[in-house]
Symmetry: C2
Subunit: 160 residues, 2 copies
């Protein structure tokens, strides 16, 4: 790789937040596409229902952002949603919290290695990328669930 | 967002290539986990078999990288794989090509807006992110296929 290209900065924190929030909008539409009972009960191949996956995503997004910011890795404290409305409300609260909190990440913390939740040695940036990738991964699985249910998933390329 | 954080550079071209190649290693393991006939024929919910999705990924990775590098958006020219071995071989060729070609992307092209394949107005970086996200999305779907087939998918968090 040419040295100039290796070192080129290709993403700012602001770009990263916008990219994530674009994915989060699509994931919200994916949650909303499920009928309530199937959101909490339907699955394929013995996997978890999509509500359980979305709950995992909620337990990662702001807690990881706060951990990268402060070095304190604390579990999400809110109650586990039991209805589609509660799930979407928790999602929307995190959308606002992320916008507030992402900007408080000290720049050096993106590269600094920390022990996330006392378990995983990772630079802050890799922890955030993992949260985003995990969201895309599970949302892709929700697309299969929706197809089996005969429901058209939201367009993958729309992020606004 | 604090101005300092907004502008913080959180990813270099080298980081991005490593992140992508880590995903590509996992996708290769996912392809390899399928029995040959099911790779090309099995699907869930009327979706495409995973071989067809992997073929889409092959038609994106190097062509997008070359388009971002040169401004010339040309279709992948190799033949469509019809066996698992051919698919894995095309995958491995792209892994090497990406390592060679990614380093030739002129740094300014990551932010420059171009018309990818004559159709999609996008900065180079967004085109590359789309290719990676699309890979994660479809690989997540392949995990569902594997579960339905009773096959344990490769661990999501392993990228080496």
């Amino acid at each position: 790789m040419a040295t100039e290209t290796i070192q080129a900065n290709v993403l700012t924190a602001d770009d990263l937040l916008k990219h994530w929030q674009g994915h989060r909008k699509l994931t919200r539409r994916t949650i909303a596409a499920f009928p309530e009972d199937q959101l909490f009960q339907f699955s394929v191949g013995g996997m978890r229902p999509f509500a359980a996956m979305a709950w995992e995503l909620i337990r990662m997004a702001v807690p990881i952002t706060e951990g990268v910011t402060t070095g304190k890795w604390e579990e999400y404290k809110g109650p586990q949603p039991t209805t589609k409305d509660e799930l979407l409300r928790a999602w929307d609260e995190q959308t606002m919290e992320l916008n507030d909190k992402f900007g408080q990440i000290p720049p050096h913390r993106f590269r600094e290695v920390d022990k996330a939740f006392g378990k995983w040695e990772t630079p802050g940036m890799a922890a955030i990328q993992y949260a985003i990738d995990n969201e895309v991964h599970h949302r892709g699985q929700a697309y299969v669930y929706l197809r089996v249910l005969g429901i058209e998933p939201p367009p993958f390329w729309e992020r606004d």
